[in-house]
């Protein structure tokens, strides 16, 4: 096999050294009756060219080169090419978790920069080295809030990504941590009255998303005041990280859970992405996940290490803040490079373009369909209600190699024929006009 650096004579020599006649002797610890003597039912060994051809064919039957108006938790943004050329360096992508800092400063410094940038963007004081994704990050945020407050329930807005809420449900039920849901208003924002009703004195935290699943930007300050007035924390989930380029950061929140996919991470049919938790300094010891900290060596030279490991499973075992071990380090590095490429001015300018595209599109769609949730600001997504079943509209668009909006009936039946459209810098005016026309038929 071409990856294996051994010649037959190497193997013989090694067996001789060990004192075995055959390789099978080394497998004798496995009881005979469980030994597998047939070939596995997997494809035969293929040439590299065959492997490439196989996946190229799969790729070509997978909507390559379609225009896409889908957002809903995964956003299509341009990826500067330097990201892949840098993370493709073996020193980054073939390294393990930086447990040996003297030969892992590259990864450690990159993650330290990631943590810093996430703090700058979210307005929090500390951020961790990444979580699996935005959905599990949101679940961990709730569990963290319970550890911080000692309370045992939570309230989540229905405008939080439906799949995030499913994941949260899976996680928290086993902690005896009931999660109530609260509704939304005509303007797409959290129903404060309903929220007030749902918060009890056992509520550890309120979870909202902003921009929320409808693309509406929540009034974070108001929700924070309400939550805090009841002794609960506020956790804010951010699914479209690029919004932070032009939308006020949720500084009033106690915990922010951000999905970084928008920052240079390929859509990749849903993963790998990278979540991240950010919070106030005072809560850091309750935060799950790895943390990189600055320190110095014997000669006073600056260096970075994994720190506060006493929160983690390999030290605390069943008392750990979480069971997470492997995280999404390389994806966090992608995001770091992306944030560096656009930087202070670029993220703002780019977010501005997204805002403009969505505003233009909403205007066009409004001519034919009904754009819901007026009266509150949006970022790059909006909901359109149509006469026609959105599936039919989308099928028509598919013939033009355009992938239409996300149909909401499954998660929000009360909205009828509604779908969620997203416009980023990747959607041309031409595509938008075509889509808007299709809607209005």
């Amino acid at each position: 096999m071409r990856y294996l650096p051994k010649s037959p004579s190497d193997r013989e020599q090694m067996l001789r050294e060990i004192g075995c006649k055959s390789i099978d002797e080394l497998f004798e610890p496995i009881p005979e009756q469980y030994r597998l003597y047939r070939d596995l039912k997997v494809p035969r060994q293929m040439a590299e060219s065959e492997v490439v051809d196989y996946f190229r064919e799969r790729s070509e039957t997978n909507a390559a080169g379609y225009a896409v108006f889908l957002g809903a938790g995964a956003y299509h943004h341009y990826r500067p090419v330097v990201i892949d050329s840098l993370i493709s360096r073996g020193e980054f992508f073939t390294a393990y978790t930086p447990y040996q800092p003297e030969i892992a400063q590259g990864t450690l410094q990159a993650i330290f920069e990631f943590q810093t940038m996430v703090c700058e963007l979210t307005g929090m004081e500390v951020a961790n080295a990444s979580m699996y994704d935005g959905s599990t990050g949101a679940a961990e945020a709730l569990m963290m809030a319970c550890r911080v407050t000692g309370r045992k329930s939570a309230v989540a807005a229905r405008t939080v990504h439906p799949e995030y809420r499913e994941v949260i449900h899976t996680y928290v039920q086993h902690q005896g941590l009931p999660v109530a849901e609260c509704g939304y208003l005509e303007n797409g924002r959290v129903d404060m009255a309903d929220l007030e009703k749902k918060i009890t004195d056992d509520t550890a935290c309120v979870l909202i998303q902003s921009p929320n699943f409808f693309g509406t930007i929540e009034d974070v300050a108001a929700v924070a005041d309400l939550a805090h007035s009841k002794g609960a924390l506020l956790a804010v989930s951010i699914a479209e990280a690029l919004s932070l380029g032009i939308v006020r950061p949720p500084t009033e929140a106690d915990i922010v859970s951000m999905e970084s996919q928008s920052f240079g991470v390929p859509l990749g049919f849903g993963g790998p992405y990278a979540g991240v938790l950010a919070t106030k300094e005072k809560f850091v010891r309750q935060m799950p996940g790895r943390l990189v900290g600055e320190t110095h060596d014997r000669n006073g030279k600056r260096g970075f290490v994994l720190t506060l490991a006493t929160r983690e499973q390999h030290i605390r075992r069943e008392k750990a803040t979480s069971n997470i071990c492997t995280n999404q380090a390389l994806i966090a590095t992608m995001a770091t490079i992306y944030m560096t490429v656009y930087g202070r001015e670029g993220l703002k300018e780019l977010a501005g373009q997204n805002l403009a595209k969505a505003a233009y599109a909403a205007g066009e769609f409004a001519k034919k369909g009904k754009v819901l949730f007026p009266g509150a600001p949006r970022f790059n997504e909006f909901v359109v209600q149509t006469q026609e079943d959105p599936h039919d509209i989308n099928n028509r668009l598919l013939e033009k190699r355009i992938i239409g909006g996300f149909t909401l009936s499954k998660f929000y039946p009360e909205l009828g024929n509604a779908s969620l459209w997203c416009c980023t810098e990747m959607n041309t005016k031409g595509e938008i006009d075509t889509a808007a026309k299709a809607v209005g038929r």
């Binding site: 071409r2 190497d10 020599q13 080394l26 497998f27 610890p29 469980y34 596995l40 997997v42 494809p43 035969r44 060994q45 293929m46 996946f55 799969r58 790729s59 997978n62 889908l70 995964a74 073996g90 020193e91 992508f93 390294a95 003297e102 410094q109 990159a110 004081e125 951020a127 959905s135 994941v167 899976t170 930007i217 380029g245 939308v247 006020r248 390929p266 049919f269 849903g270 790998p272 990278a274 320190t295 014997r298 600056r302 970075f304 720190t307 490991a309 390999h314 605390r316 750990a320 069971n323 997470i324 492997t326 999404q328 560096t340 300018e349 780019l350 805002l355 992938i403 996300f406 810098e425």
Partner: protein, 502 residues
């Protein structure tokens, strides 16, 4: 210092580089946007109070500086591409380049998770084919690819057990976990709402069957067992173990982190395992990336299938594939979308490049390498258990510790010899453990260099313990002060806090 004996590495000039924020200056740019083709807008007007005016300390640098910044930093890392990476339990094997190429094919890399199924057949076929391969490899009946890593898979698996037991009327209270287990095992049990009960291992480093028999009862949901265990030892009585659990209505969970010792030679499904996870980022060579991403598929027996996370993939009568969301008994979702698809692509590419013969040879070479190291070093380091080793071997620093040289010191000294250290002080059952997993990816030449280095360090530990205790001596930074880091944590750069620049 005996640097003349060091054959594998030397020292070479290496670039310094500060934090990116220290390079930033207003007006530098690494981006340019295409002209806006729709009317420009006024953010203040559209966003009102929600508008953001300033992005604080986000960097402003040019593309050239970005390339140098990350390229320079990369040269400070050790990596598989540079040499042997014998981290026990981590299976640091070769990450084939073709996997990276196919994962970046446009149709796969740019596919939106919500795009219609009929134009997603390529991605669905990849997931289905991988699932089928993994089922035959494990000997299980059903599988989910959704979990993002091993620990995530553990949680998924334990939730399957819990759902099943609940459906039998009682979720039960406790999970048995051997003292040799990885930290994620007890942590996972806790997350799933189970109490952890410790299970001692016997003198052979295996599960103590009588202890198991006496501890097992109707309060216990099951056992989380790593096999081969973290000592690299195959649980010879595995069938017996399964029987004991099953007799009391419990289930056997297998932590598949060490599947690199078994693929193509034996199947957990055949020796009594009810549910297990795989680490695609170990056994199936998806890159670790400095800590992640991973992927932790969970395979289970028929009895647990209906509880799998949703959606699952199903083959429709017309031969096309789709997602099945209609699964009333599912434990629910453990992650949005379908898991780390990019890792699924790479793992399948790895399986295709190997084929059944390559996978078997891979396992045999992994076990051969570990046993070769064991044989060559057993005269220099203490072997706490003499049961046969599979894919990894665990020594103890007992002998060196007498001179005050700990496993951590030996590890640091290995760096001077041009190697990444083995896994230090895990598993906990071995005081001062040296946990060595070479994987199949090491040539005889590289193994011999490693063995020479370990022998030389053993000599140094005897003759010049200080030299070893102060290692590494060849790196751009010497040992870092981890206590200071934890005492008052500096977890982010701050403008004022510009520190000792290099």
């Amino acid at each position: 210092m005996s640097d003349r004996d060091i054959k594998k590495a030397t020292r070479h000039v290496n670039q310094n580089e500060g934090l990116i924020f220290e390079r930033s200056s207003p007006g530098k740019k690494a981006y340019r946007l295409a002209p806006l083709d729709v009317p420009a807008i006024d953010p203040r007007k559209l966003l009102g109070a929600a508008v953001r005016e300033d992005l604080g300390n986000m960097p402003e640098v040019s593309e050239m500086e970005i390339i140098r910044h990350f390229t320079r930093m990369s040269t400070w890392n050790y990596a598989i591409d540079l040499g042997m990476y014998p981290l026990g339990s981590c299976t640091m094997k070769y990450n084939a380049r073709v996997n990276e190429v196919v994962a970046r094919l446009r149709g796969l890399a740019e596919a939106h998770p919500y795009q219609p199924e009929r134009i997603s057949q390529g991605a669905l076929r990849i997931m289905k084919t991988l699932a089928d391969c993994l089922l035959d490899i494990t000997g299980m009946d059903a599988i989910t690819l959704q979990p993002a890593a091993g620990a995530h898979g553990e949680m998924t698996g334990i939730l399957l057990m819990k759902a099943y037991l609940s459906s039998m009327g009682n979720p039960r209270k406790k999970i048995l976990i051997p003292d040799s287990a990885h930290g994620t095992n007890p942590a996972t049990a806790a997350i799933c709402g189970y109490a952890v009960e410790n299970l001692k291992s016997n003198a052979q480093g295996m599960v103590d069957i009588s202890a198991l028999a006496s501890q097992m009862n109707e309060d216990i949901a099951g056992l989380m067992l790593t096999n081969p265990n973290t000592l690299g030892i195959f649980e010879h009585e595995i069938a017996k173990i399964a029987d004991i659990l099953h007799q009391k209505g419990g289930l056997l969970y297998m932590d598949g982190a060490n599947m690199n010792a078994l693929v193509g030679k034996t199947r957990p499904g055949d020796f009594g395992v009810d549910v297990m996870h795989l680490n695609l980022h170990k056994t199936f060579s998806t890159p670790h990336g400095g800590g992640g991403p991973g992927s932790g598929p969970v395979a289970c027996k028929k009895i647990l299938e209906r509880f799998l996370p949703k959606p699952t993939i199903l083959e429709k009568p017309d031969g096309t594939l789709g997602f099945d969301y209609n699964r009333p008994d599912s434990v629910g979702r453990v992650r949005m979308f379908y898991g780390n698809f990019g890792m699924h692509v790479r793992a399948l590419a790895y399986i295709m490049a190997n084929g059944y013969d390559g996978l078997r040879q891979t396992t045999e070479d992994a076990v051969l390498n570990a046993n070769y190291i064991r044989k060559m070093l057993e005269s220099d380091y203490t072997l706490p258990y003499n049961s046969g080793s599979m894919h990894e071997v665990v020594f103890s620093d007992q002998r060196q510790a007498q001179k005050g040289v700990k496993t951590g010191d030996i590890a640091k000294r290995l760096i001077d010899y041009g190697f990444h250290p083995y896994t230090v002080s895990f598993p906990l059952v071995v005081p001062g453990a040296l946990m060595i997993e070479p994987t199949e990816s090491e040539s005889l030449e590289e193994l011999d260099l490693f063995i020479d280095a370990m022998k030389a360090i053993a000599r140094e530990a005897a003759d010049d313990p200080e030299l070893v205790r102060n290692a590494p001596h060849s790196t751009r930074v010497s040992r870092l002060d981890e206590t200071a880091a934890a005492r008052k944590p500096v977890l982010r750069w701050k403008p004022q806090a510009k520190s000792v620049s290099e």
